[in-house]
C-alpha cells in the first residue's frame, strides 16, 4: 500500500505545479468557508454577549428636572430601602487623541445575589475597590492607549491631561473603547466630586417610582436581536453558498489530479494493483492532502476574518450598539467543525474521482466510444436530477405558503438550496442543447462550427466549473441585491423614523407646557409628538368573522403632520395613501407588518384593543413596514392615543424652518424648562452615522463577493488546466491543417467567454430568484417581516462582465501556453499521443 501511495505521490515530484494547484484549490475553498464562519462565529458570540447584556439591562432613575444626583442623595435612596446603584460616566482622552468612555461603577450595589460572593473571598474584588484600583479594558482599546498586548496587564497609561489610569486588567468581553473602574477611581479621574451621572437598578427591582423621580424601565428597550439576526442570517447564507462553490473547486482540483495521472493509474492496474487497493491509496492521498489543505485553509480563513473583521466589527458595533471585538474569539469546536466540513466536502467531491478510478478501464480500448453515450446519459441524469430538485423547491414553496409566518426557516433555506441545485444541474444539459443548436446553425462557417462542436466536447470537463461559476454569480447577485435592498430599506426607515432634525426627550409632565411654548416659536415648523403605551389586542374582526386574540401589543402615537406623512412608507392601504392618512387622522389605525402577518390582518379589518381603562374597536387603514421590531405595533394618531388610551408622551420631534437657529432654540428650551444636556438630540447626526455604517457593510459584502468569484475563477482555471494537454492535442491538427495559432487562441478565448456569458445570463434571473428567496421567504420565515425586493441593473451588468472577465482570465494562461508553444512541442505531443 505504501508503495502504491508513494508511486501515486511521485507524480507530484515531477509536476510540483499540479500539487500546488490541488492544494491551492483545497486551501482557497476551505479558507473562504472558514473565513466567513469565523466572522460569523465571532459576530454571533458578540451578539450573544450583547443580548445577554440587554437581558441584564438596568432600570434607570432620573430626576424630573434632569439635574444630576449627589452622593448623599444616593445614600438617602439606599437608606430608604431602594436597591439602586450609582454610576459615573465620562470621557477620557488618550495621548493619541482617542476618546474613550470611562465608566465608574460600584460593584457592591450594582450586582445582585451571587456577584456579591466575591466580597470576602476574592482578592480581585478588593483590588478593584482599593488603591491603586484597576482599569478593566477590552484588548481592542489597547492600541488607542499605545500599549502592546503583552505588556498590557498592570500597565498604567498616561492620558492626554497627564493623569494616569489605574493598572490595566484585560477583559475581552468588554465593549471596545470602554474603560471600567471603581467609582472612586473614576471620580478622581473625572474630577466629578460627589456627583453621580445616573442611578440604576436591576430590572423590576423598584416596585414603584420614588416621588420626584422618573423611572425608565429596562423592559421598554428594544433589543437589537432581530436586526442583528437578520444580518447574521445573510452572512450564514453567504457562508453556505461559499462552501458549495468550494466543493466545486475541490472537485475540479481533484479531477485535475486524477486526469493527469490516468496513465499511471492504468499502468498500476496493469501491473496487478487491484482496483480496491488503488481506491484505498487514492483515498489516503485525498485525506492527506485534504488535511493539509483544510488546516491551511482554516488558518488563513481566520486570517481573512481578521482582515475583514475591523470592518465587520465597526459595522455591527455602531449599527447595533453592540461591540464586536476585534479579537477573534473562536471556540475549539469551530476548529473541529471547520476541519470536519472541509474533509467531508473533500470526500464528497472526491467520491466521483474515486468512482472513476475504481472503474478505470485497464486498456483504453473502446473508451472513446463509451464516452459520448456516457456523457449523454450523464446529461439526462442531470436533467432528471434538476427536475427533481425543482419539484422539491416548488413543493417547499407550496408548503411554506401554508405555514404561519416566522416558521419554516429551514424549509426556506432548503428552497433556495434546491433552486440553486436545480439550476446548477440544468446548466450542462442546457449548455449542451444551446451548443448543439448553434453547431447546426453555423455549419457553413467552418471555424465557428468547429469551435461550437469542440465546445461540446469540452463541456463534460468544464461543466462542474461552469456550475460553480453559475452558483457564485447567482449568489453574488442575490446577496448583493439583498444587502443593497437592506440598505435602501434601512435608509427609508431612517427617513420614516427620523423626520425631525431635533428630537426632544423631556420629563413626561413637561410636554404639555413645552408644546404650548413651542407653538409660539416662529422657527418651529411642526411639532411631532409621539406617545407610547402597552395594550392588548383583544379581538380582530375580518370579513371571515371575529376572532378572540389576547396578544400583547405596543401602541405608538405619531403626529400625522406634513413633514411625516410623505416619508412614512405604507405596504398596503384600503384605497390610497391620501385616504389612509385622512382616515388615520380621524381615528383609524395602522398596524405594522409583523402584526399583520402574525394575525393575518388586512386593511379594513377592525381590531379591539384594550388598555388600562380603555377598550376601543378601531379600523385598520393601512399596514406599514417596521423593520427590526420584534413585536406587533399599532399606530394611532397621537391626539387619539392620548384621548382614548391616556398614553403618556414619550418624545417630540421638532421640524424647523430652514433659517432656524438650532442652537438658540436648544438653549432657550433648556433654559426655559431646565432640561438635561441629553434631552435634545440631533437626528441628522444619527442619520449620517447610520448611513456611513451601511456603506461599510457594503464594503464587506463586496469583499466577500469578490472572494467567492475568485474561488469560482480558480475552479474554472483548474478545470482548464486539467484539460490543457488534451486541448493542445485537439488544437494541433487544426493548426497543421492551416489555421493560424492566433486565430485558434482567439477562438479558444471566445469559446470560454461565450460559455461564461451564457452562464452569467442564466445567473441573472437565478440571482433575482435568490434575492427574492432571501427577502421574501427567509426573512419572513425568520422574523415575520419582508424586506422589499430591489434590483440593481448596473450591478447585474457589472457581474455579467465580471463573469466573462473571470472566464477569460482563467482561460488566459492555458491559451497563452498554447499560443507560445513551439511547433515542435505541439508536434511532439501529437506524435507522443
Amino acid at each position: 500500500m505504501t508503495r502504491v501511495l508513494a508511486t501515486l505521490l511521485s507524480h507530484y515530484r515531477r509536476h510540483p505545479g499540479q500539487l500546488i494547484m490541488l492544494l491551492l484549490g483545497l486551501w482557497v475553498a476551505s479558507a473562504l468557508w472558514s473565513g466567513i464562519q469565523a466572522i460569523n462565529a465571532t459576530a454571533r458570540d458578540s451578539y450573544d454577549r450583547a443580548d445577554a447584556m440587554f437581558d441584564t439591562q438596568l432600570d434607570q432613575l432620573e430626576r424630573r428636572d434632569g439635574t444630576p444626583f449627589s452622593r448623599t442623595e444616593y445614600h438617602s435612596l439606599r437608606q430608604a430601602g431602594l436597591p439602586v446603584s450609582p454610576m459615573l460616566e465620562g470621557e477620557v482622552v488618550t495621548q493619541d487623541g482617542t476618546r474613550l468612555t470611562l465608566i465608574g461603577i460600584d460593584p457592591l450595589t450594582l450586582s445582585s445575589d451571587n456577584a456579591l460572593a466575591q466580597v470576602n473571598t476574592s482578592t480581585s474584588l478588593s483590588d478593584f475597590l482599593s488603591p491603586p484600583w484597576q482599569t478593566r479594558v477590552a484588548p481592542d482599546a489597547l492600541a488607542a492607549l499605545g500599549i502592546e498586548r503583552e505588556k498590557a496587564s498592570g500597565a498604567t497609561p498616561t492620558l492626554k491631561d497627564g493623569k494616569t489610569l489605574p493598572p490595566l486588567v484585560l477583559a475581552p468581553a468588554l465593549p471596545p473603547d470602554t474603560l471600567i473602574m471603581d467609582i472612586a477611581a473614576a471620580a478622581r479621574l473625572l474630577e466629578s466630586g460627589d456627583e453621580i451621572t445616573r442611578i440604576v437598578a436591576a430590572p423590576g427591582a423598584l416596585s414603584e417610582t420614588p416621588t420626584g423621580l422618573t423611572l425608565t424601565r429596562a423592559t421598554t428597550l428594544a433589543s437589537p436581536g432581530q436586526l442583528t439576526e437578520s444580518f447574521h442570517l445573510n452572512l450564514t447564507a453567504l457562508g453556505l453558498l461559499a462552501w458549495v462553490v468550494g466543493l466545486f473547486i475541490v472537485q475540479a482540483a481533484l479531477g485535475l489530479a486524477l486526469e493527469q495521472r490516468l496513465g499511471m493509474l492504468r499502468t498500476l492496474r496493469v501491473l496487478g494493483v487491484s482496483g480496491r487497493r488503488l481506491v484505498i491509496a487514492l483515498s489516503l492521498e485525498l485525506i492527506l492532502l485534504g488535511l493539509i489543505g483544510a488546516l491551511a485553509g482554516i488558518a488563513s480563513g481566520v486570517w481573512l476574518a481578521r482582515l475583514l473583521l475591523p470592518d465587520v466589527a465597526a459595522t455591527l458595533g455602531s449599527l447595533y450598539g453592540a461591540g464586536v471585538g476585534q479579537e477573534l474569539n473562536l471556540p475549539w469546536h469551530y476548529w473541529v467543525g471547520g476541519l470536519a466540513v472541509s474533509l467531508s466536502g473533500l470526500l464528497l467531491a472526491g467520491s466521483g474521482v474515486l468512482w472513476r478510478a475504481a472503474r478505470l478501464n485497464m486498456l483504453e480500448l473502446g473508451q472513446m466510444q463509451a464516452w459520448r453515450s456516457g456523457y449523454r446519459r450523464q446529461l439526462t441524469l442531470m436533467g432528471i436530477g434538476g427536475a427533481i430538485a425543482l419539484s422539491i423547491a416548488l413543493a417547499l414553496y407550496a408548503w411554506l405558503r401554508f405555514q404561519p409566518p416566522g416558521d419554516g426557516l429551514v424549509a426556506g433555506f432548503g428552497l433556495i438550496a434546491a433552486l440553486l441545485l436545480a439550476s446548477a444541474l440544468w446548466l450542462p444539459p442546457f449548455l449542451a442543447l444551446v451548443l448543439r443548436t448553434l453547431t447546426h446553425l453555423v455549419r457553413r462557417r467552418p471555424l465557428i462550427h468547429w469551435a461550437m462542436a469542440d465546445m461540446q466536447l469540452q463541456l463534460p470537463r468544464l461543466s462542474l466549473a461552469m456550475m460553480a461559476l453559475l452558483i457564485a454569480l447567482a449568489t453574488n447577485l442575490g446577496v448583493g441585491s439583498m444587502v443593497g435592498g437592506f440598505r435602501l430599506t434601512f435608509l427609508d426607515w431612517l427617513d420614516q423614523r427620523l423626520v425631525a432634525p431635533l428630537y426632544l426627550n423631556a420629563p413626561t409632565e413637561q410636554y404639555a407646557d413645552i408644546d404650548v411654548w413651542l407653538a409660539d416659536r416662529p422657527e418651529v415648523f411642526e411639532r411631532l409628538l409621539t406617545r407610547r403605551s402597552d395594550a392588548t389586542l383583544q379581538a380582530a374582526t375580518t370579513p371571515e368573522g371575529s376572532r378572540a386574540l389576547g396578544t400583547p401589543i405596543e401602541l405608538y402615537g405619531i403626529t400625522p403632520g406634513k413633514s411625516l406623512t410623505p416619508h412614512w412608507p405604507l405596504l398596503a392601504t384600503q384605497q390610497d395613501r391620501a385616504s389612509a392618512w385622512a382616515a388615520f387622522g380621524d381615528g383609524a389605525i395602522f398596524v405594522n407588518e409583523q402584526l399583520a402577518t402574525a394575525e393575518n390582518l388586512a386593511p379594513g379589518n377592525r381590531l379591539t384593543l384594550s388598555a388600562p381603562g380603555a377598550n376601543e374597536t378601531l379600523t385598520i387603514a393601512a399596514i406599514y413596514p417596521d423593520y427590526g421590531n420584534p413585536s406587533g405595533q399599532v399606530l394611532v394618531a397621537s391626539p387619539q392615543l392620548a384621548a382614548r388610551f391616556n398614553a403618556p408622551p414619550s418624545s417630540m420631534g421638532l421640524v424647523l424652518n430652514d433659517d432656524a437657529n438650532v442652537d438658540a432654540l436648544r438653549a432657550a428650551l433648556r433654559e426655559r424648562f431646565v432640561l438635561g444636556s441629553d434631552a435634545l438630540s440631533d437626528q441628522a447626526g444619527i442619520k449620517r452615522i447610520a448611513t456611513e455604517i451601511f456603506e461599510r457593510t457594503f464594503t464587506i459584502t463586496r469583499a466577500l463577493n469578490v472572494l467567492t468569484l475568485a474561488v469560482a475563477a480558480l475552479a474554472l482555471f483548474a478545470s482548464l488546466l486539467a484539460q490543457a494537454r488534451s486541448r493542445r492535442q485537439q488544437l494541433a491538427p487544426l493548426w497543421a491543417l492551416g489555421v493560424p495559432r492566433t486565430q485558434l487562441a482567439q477562438l479558444n478565448l471566445a469559446q470560454l467567454g461565450g460559455a461564461a456569458l451564457v452562464t452569467g445570463l442564466l445567473a441573472v434571473p437565478l440571482g433575482i430568484v435568490i434575492t427574492w428567496g432571501l427577502v421574501a421567504i427567509i426573512n419572513v420565515a425568520a422574523f415575520g417581516w419582508r424586506l422589499p425586493l430591489y434590483l440593481f441593473p448596473w450591478e447585474m451588468a457589472v457581474t455579467l462582465a465580471t463573469a466573462v472577465g473571470v472566464a477569460l482570465l482563467a482561460a488566459a494562461l492555458p491559451t497563452l501556453r498554447f499560443w507560445r508553444a513551439s511547433p515542435r512541442a505541439l508536434l511532439a505531443e501529437e506524435a507522443n499521443q
Binding site: 464516452w371 457553413r444 489555421v739 508536434l827
Partner: protein
Amino acid sequence: MLELHQVHKTYATPQGPLKVLENVSLRLAAGQSLGLMGESGSGKSTLLHLAAGLDLPDQGVITLEGQNVASLPEPTRAKLRREQLGLVFQQFHLVPSLTVIDNLRLQARLASRDDADWSGYLIKRLGLTGMEKRYPEQLSGGQQQRLAIGRALAPRPPLLLADEPTGNLDETTAGEVLDLLLSLVRETHCALLIVTHSLQVAAPLDRCLRLRHGRLLDATP
C-alpha cells in the same frame, strides 16, 4: 512544386544539440510521388514538418509552389498549408467533435474550396458511405485513416504530405489504405511525399530517398 536546398535542422535537447537534418536537398515536381525512408530518428518526420511549414529550418531554403516558406509570416504559412497541402498523419488526427462528413470537409471549408460533389465522391471512394453522421471514434482504424486521407484531399491540394500513413494499421488494412491513397493521388494529379520505413509502401512510388542520421544517402535531386 517543393524544393529543399541545403537544409539544416538542429534541436536543443537536455543532452546537448542534436543534429536532425544536415545539408539536405531534394526536389519534388508536380504530380510526382516521392518516398522518404529511414530508421526511427533518422530525421524523416522532421523533414516532412519542415516541408509543411510546421517548423522552420536553421539553414537552407525550402520552396513550396515558388514561395520561400521560411520567409513567410505565420498566417501566410497557415494559408499555404490549408490551400496547397494535404497532410496525413500516422495517428489520423481527426477532430473528435465533428462528424465524419464534417471532418472530411473541414479543410476544404477552411480553404473555401468546399465542393459537395467532390466530397460525396470521396466518401464513396473511401468506402464511408452511410457513416457520414458518425463520429471518428465510432470508426475502425482503417476507416479513420481513410477519412484522414479524404480530409487532406478534399480541397484538391497540389501536394500531399503523408507521415507513416499506415504505421498504425495492420498489414491487410495498411495495404488497402495505401492502394486507396495512391489511386486517389493519381486521380487528382497530386504530388506526394510519403515518409515511411516500409519497403512495401515505397515500392509503388516514383522515387525513393533514404535518410540516415540526418543525411540523404542517395543524393539524387
